[in-house]
């Protein structure tokens, strides 16, 4: 049964290769292949979650035992994100039919396969390969979205992404030159002796900046507003909601397993703080709905980076809670904003024409700001208590910036909400008020319902997340599971 997990990566790849051929002979059959594969992937992962014994396990690909071969490491955190990938891939499936459909759907399958790989892989270079695949398939998807503006956005994204890839590869090469292995568990074992030095730090910084391109890390996130504002909003939702979190997950894993230098967390903390400040202020000034969401996403990811810099298990819990919460909210908001492009003034009086859309926006905004009892409150509360417990003054700055950001966030989100609920729209603006498309509104309602469900079940879910965080933090468990040797034999 465990071996079937491989299918969640292999089948989307197979589907992507065959899709253009199948679609040429039978379009009716072709359009169902992608959703069927992703649905099956959800089923496999859901089954593992429900019927697994909760213990992490490792799958050796090609039958070569790690550290020589490549392995997938499956713990609760990896499983959670892999499941989210397949599910969101299914929800944001590009249904639109035109001459580009086969290629677009094939690229989407590749994106889902590689994202799943990012969540599961236990090998540094394999992570890099999947990361590259994520990058290349998103280039195509964004460029295929629509307009000339999307082309321009793609080029900036392409250049930044290229720099990021080179830096990541450089960092990996440094690590390999120093240790002679690429397996994460093996590296975790060797790291205290061999990577706890300047070279390890330099390698980490290179990888951080490189992978940070996707995780919207502060200096390398200039592609974000353009891309999210011009790409198809289903794609923006997938990128902002999921792919950024997966890059974050990779950074978190590397930090937990391999890089234990205090300087590493300090850099993350500082970049996170700068990201929060720049993102939130830019969002406050933004005049366009989707641009505002993009900047706000940079700010939110900055907050998650601050959480990544926290040292212990509660920090991991805060990262998980904030990531999942942001995944839910941002996906929903981007779906809502599907037809809300252009000036924010167009949204005047929208709540009157479409009460559901207005209500959903207020719900998402409240949770994003952190209004109890919505889940956003609990996620932020975990972070605040944890930050307040630290002695290092840098964490205090983080706390202050975080609180300030919350105020700014509330200010710009409710400015929009107030605009929607304004009662006396002038005639000509009234005509301009966009209608939310049926499909995107339905999808957004789905996320709204999910948010309410989480609100109701917040206490059992919190406990479950705590267990996930504890497992993810356990380096010895990771090494033992992958290399299958008793703890006593560690060097």
């Amino acid at each position: 049964m465990n071996e079937h997990l491989m299918l969640t990566i292999a089948l989307p790849l197979l589907g992507a290769f065959l899709l253009p051929i199948i679609m040429r002979s039978s379009l009716a059959m072709g359009v169902w292949i992608g959703p069927a594969i992703l649905g099956y992937g959800c089923w496999i992962l859901g089954n593992l979650w429900l019927h697994g014994n909760g213990q992490p396990f490792s799958i050796a690909i090609g039958g070569f035992a790690p550290p020589i071969g490549i392995n997938l490491y499956v713990d609760a955190m990896a499983l959670l994100f892999a499941f989210a990938t397949q599910l969101l891939g299914l929800i944001f499936w590009p249904f639109r039919l035109d001459q580009d459909t086969p290629k677009r759907q094939a690229l989407m399958l590749l994106l889902v396969a590689s994202s799943t790989g990012l969540a599961l892989s236990g090998d540094l270079f394999n992570l890099y390969v999947f990361y590259e695949l994520v990058a290349v398939s998103t280039f195509g998807l964004i460029a295929a979205s629509s307009s000339g503006a999307a082309y321009v956005a793609t080029i900036r994204y392409l250049i930044l992404s290229g720099i990021g890839s080179v830096l990541t590869l450089f960092g990996i090469a440094l690590i390999y030159a120093q240790t002679g292995t690429l397996n994460l568990a093996h590296l975790a074992q060797l790291a205290p002796d061999q990577l706890n030095n300047d070279l390890g730090l330099a390698a980490f910084l290179a990888i951080l900046i490189g992978i940070g391109v996707k995780a919207e890390l502060f200096p390398v996130n200039t592609w974000v507003p353009e891309v999210y504002a011009t790409a198809a909003s289903r794609l923006s939702a997938f990128l902002a909601g999921l792919v950024s979190k997966l890059a974050m997950l990779v950074i978190l894993r590397l930090l937990l397993l391999i890089f234990h230098q205090p300087e590493a967390t300090q850099v993350i903390l500082i970049l996170g703080i700068l990201g929060v400040i720049s993102g939130e202020f830019a969002a406050w000034r933004a005049k366009d709905m989707r641009r505002m969401l993009a900047f706000s996403s940079i700010g939110q990811l900055g907050v998650i980076f601050i959480a990544v810099a926290l040292p212990d298990e509660r920090g991991v819990l805060a990262v998980l809670a904030l990531s999942l919460h942001h995944m839910l909210i941002k996906s929903g908001l981007f779906m809502l904003a599907d037809h809300w492009g252009g000036s924010l003034d167009r949204l005047r009086g929208l709540a009157a024409t479409s009460p559901l859309a207005g209500g959903l926006f207020v719900l998402f905004a409240l949770s994003l700001v952190g209004m109890p009892p919505l889940p956003g409150f609990w996620a932020k509360f975990t972070l605040i208590t944890e930050l307040a417990g630290q002695t290092d003054p840098l964490y205090m700055i983080g706390l202050l910036v975080f609180l300030l950001a919350t105020v700014i966030e509330a200010s710009y989100l409710f400015r929009v909400a107030a605009k929607m609920y304004q009662t006396k729209p002038t005639e000509n603006v009234r005509i301009n008020a966009p209608d939310s498309g049926g499909l995107s509104l339905t999808t957004a309602s789905l996320f709204g319902a999910g948010l309410i469900a989480v609100t109701v079940m917040v206490s059992p879910l919190g406990e479950a997340l705590q267990a996930v965080a504890a497992q993810a933090q356990d380096v010895d468990l990771y090494i033992q599971t992958v290399l299958q040797q008793p703890l006593g034999e560690r060097q």
């Binding site: 071996e3 491989m6 299918l7 292999a10 790849l13 197979l14 992507a16 290769f17 065959l18 253009p20 051929i21 040429r24 799958i59 050796a60 690909i61 090609g62 039958g63 070569f64 550290p67 020589i68 071969g69 490549i70 580009d100 290629k103 677009r104 094939a106 690229l107 590749l110 396969a113 590689s114 790989g117 270079f125 394999n126 390969v129 999947f130 590259e132 695949l133 290349v136 398939s137 280039f139 195509g140 460029a143 295929a144 082309y151 440094l174 030159a177 120093q178 240790t179 002679g180 292995t181 690429l182 397996n183 093996h186 300047d198 070279l199 330099a202």
Partner: protein
């Protein structure tokens, strides 16, 4: 200002690289995993070319990833190029020597390409290298005769089925109760053409896919320029 920032960044990066390079000892690489693979590869995969045993055996999933990256890049390029209409490119037809030279090179390049693919598990070479030569074989006549076209339908058929067969070989292993992409059918005669089990099959898939992809990408580029 922007130039200055770029210069500062490049200078800083260069300084970092230098200071790191000083601490690394060259000439004595750490052969932790490398050594282990060298001592086991012949028995475990049956391929005399150890690079092949790494590319298709130990790190087979990476190769599948690389193939997918190539596929994604070709598909993306197809999406973008498919709609661009430049009026550039009024090529003149090649002369007699160019045209017939191109035609005569075709069988030679095909032979070399397939030779390199089929001997990938025995000697340096393999699917990626052979695939590029195959692509060149198809692209050369195209360069010599500007009006000629490759049949894109056939190319995408080859491309799709080659990629799919790589995954399917992996899935067959899974279905037989082994691990995904585990090498199968390994006999113990080293160094003959039919050895190393499924690895040559995987390399054939890689070669065909790389060849078809590059050929279709190049001809796409050529056509986009000559579209009026």
């Amino acid at each position: 200002m922007r130039n200055l920032t770029g210069l500062l960044f490049a200078g800083g990066l260069g300084f970092m690289l230098l200071s790191i390079a000083i601490n690394l000892d060259f000439g004595t690489p750490t052969m932790l995993i490398g050594g282990a693979i060298q001592s086991k590869a012949l028995q475990e995969t049956g391929a005399t070319n150890i690079v092949t045993s790494v590319v298709l055996g130990y790190r087979g999933i990476d190769t599948l990833g690389e193939l997918s990256i190539l596929f994604a890049a070709a598909a993306s390029a197809g999406l973008i190029l498919g709609r661009r209409h430049t009026t550039a490119g009024t090529q003149t037809a090649g002369g007699f020597v160019l045209r017939h030279g191109g035609s005569m090179l075709f069988p030679l390049l095909m032979t070399i390409g397939f030779y390199i693919i089929f001997h990938g598990h025995l000697s340096p070479g393999g699917g990626f290298q052979g695939g590029v030569i195959l692509a060149a074989a198809f692209f050369l006549p195209l360069l010599a005769r500007p009006g000629a076209q490759l049949h894109h339908g056939t190319l995408s058929l080859i491309e799709g089925f080659a990629g799919a067969s790589f995954v399917l070989i992996g899935l067959i292993a899974l279905q037989q109760g082994k691990a995904f992409l585990q090498p199968m059918l390994i006999q113990d005669t080293l160094g003959v053409l039919l050895s190393a089990g499924t690895l040559p099959l995987l390399y054939l898939a890689v070669g065909l896919k790389v060849g078809a992809e590059l050929a279709s990408l190049l001809s796409h580029l050529a056509q986009t320029e000559s579209d009026v």
